[in-house]
Amino acid sequence: MSILRQTANLKWVGIVAVFALALVLPAIASDPATTNIAVFTMMYIGLATAWNIMGGYTGYISLGHAAFFGFGAYALALMLGHLHIAGGYTVFLFVPIAGVATAVLAVGIGWFALRTRAATFVIVTIAFMFMLQLLAENLVGLTGGGGGMSFPVPPWRGGSFNPPYYYAMLTLAAFALGISWWIRRSKFGLGLLAIRDDEDKALAVGVPTRTFKLTAFVVSATLVGMIGAVYGYYVTYIYPQFVVDPLIGISMVLMVFLGGLGTLSGPVLGALILEPAQLSLAYNFGASRLYLVLYAAVFLLVILLLPRGIVPSVTDLLVRWRSRTGPTAPAPAKALNS
């Protein structure tokens, strides 16, 4: 069996083991503090992976994805309120509908925002996020304004409170990863990577760049909206500054940059490193927001030492090491798919 084949098999064994561990985690570490960290870590794995579909694959850096996160939460709260749905597992069935509502919003925002590029796009996405935050603040009759909105009270108590949310977040994170993997290996994904490298050149070789970018934007926003909806139900009470929070948007971006922009496993790794660290700081230092200092420090370190993120940098090192030690070094292209 070749080394490449062995590596591929090992990779699959690793993936299955990690997924199995994720499935049984609430059973082996059942205290609420741990499962709470697990819920948020899973949430950020999903968010970072979803953001990466747009930001990583096309190179269009959106700092306004918190708008979709908050919109998903509000969409679910409004739906549940109007339909008088009681708390419980039924609520999760409405999450995809919140996703569809977010998709409709994303088509509108993307239609305008994607007429710009580079720094202008970044600013436009931030502007849309604050517009949405202001709308949520001012449409008092619909959203409750600054007073916020409540979700139906969940029926779970004590140690059984976190697991349903954990599994909902796990499902969405796995779904986001599946979509990201599917896109990365498709002709559509190759078109997105071409846009990232040189958009005009992509256009010149027949990539319908506007359609591709909008599709990636909508897919990414829909996933973020669904995750936001579950988050809203988890915290049970939302208000504009809490769910349309720029820090949520920045966190998912930073996780992707740390793990590796445009890679499949990078966002997962970034979320696994940053979110538990952030929550530990929050638990240990209260509401001091010390984690923001950590974020700033990590961001500086990433920019200075690993500008491409952990996964691409480590992959490069491995490829170079293997090319020195043996003839069966994998091609860089395969390495990038990691």
């Binding site: 896109i183 498709s186 002709k187 005009d200 256009l203 070789v205």
Partner: protein
């Protein structure tokens, strides 16, 4: 039969007239050279034909159908490929992936299926072998030499089997040995039925390669015909020598 027809095409950039009622006809199966001094409007003509910039006036038709209002991706889909003055490839994709980006696929299912279908991959490898760069198939585009990038760009454009290829200065920054190779590839591809419109400054190379030449000066086509005849035209000598 004319494959591409440009009629009275004009373009102004502020007060500068870049292209001034330019008319060119490219016959199917030919290798046509588009020459002229710097700033004569050659690349602007390319950009208008391929939909990168809109024209102010005039029409462009391909196989007798107007392509005036179409975007670059639609024009490429119709069968017009182009290269750029400075070789442009996707630096963070491998050479093989660079070849697969332009492959045409119809329908959503085809779009979301694997990017390297075995037959497309085989065709891409065949093209890389034809261009003598198969050995760099798995290397990232950004790590290739300039000459390899030039060949890769040409190969990638050909992956969608265009009927007409617009080459913008294929000899620019290329050493004489590679230049000869590029010329040979163009001739062989032309024998397979691909028509070429070539912008080039290297006169001896373009005169040897092309079956017909059009000379642009201040945005206007001032002469056209067989290379040897065009070379003797007084208007051409005036344009180049400023006499």
């Amino acid at each position: 039969m004319s494959l591409l027809r440009i009629d009275n095409l004009s373009k102004r950039f502020g007060g500068v007239v870049a292209v001034d009622e330019c008319s060119i006809t490219v016959e199917a199966g030919s290798i046509m050279g588009l020459i002229g001094p710097n700033g004569s409007g050659k690349t602007t003509v390319f950009n208008m034909v391929t939909g990168f910039i809109p024209s102010d006036k005039g029409t462009v038709s391909f196989k007798s159908k107007s392509i005036d209002r179409l975007g670059p991706d639609r024009i490429y889909e119709l069968g017009i490929g182009r290269t750029f003055q400075l070789a442009r490839i996707f630096p963070r994709l491998t050479a093989l992936e660079n070849m697969l980006v332009p492959v045409r696929r119809k329908g959503l299912r085809a779009l979301f299926s694997r990017a390297d279908w075995s037959n497309e991959r085989a065709r891409a490898m065949e093209m890389l072998e034809f261009l003598d760069i198969a050995h760099v198939a798995n290397k990232l585009g950004g790590t290739l030499s300039y000459g390899q990038r030039k060949l890769l760009e040409l190969g990638a454009v050909l992956m969608a089997e265009p009927e007409l290829v617009l080459l913008d200065e294929p000899a620019g920054g290329v050493n004489p040995a590679l230049l000869e190779k590029i010329g040979e590839h163009i001739r062989r591809l032309n024998e397979r039925g691909i028509t070429f419109l070539v912008v080039e400054h290297n006169m001896s190379w373009v005169m040897n390669l092309c079956t017909e030449v059009v000379v642009l000066h201040r945005g206007r086509a001032i002469a056209s015909g067989k290379p040897d005849a065009v070379r003797q035209e007084p208007a051409v000598l005036d344009a180049y020598l400023g006499a």
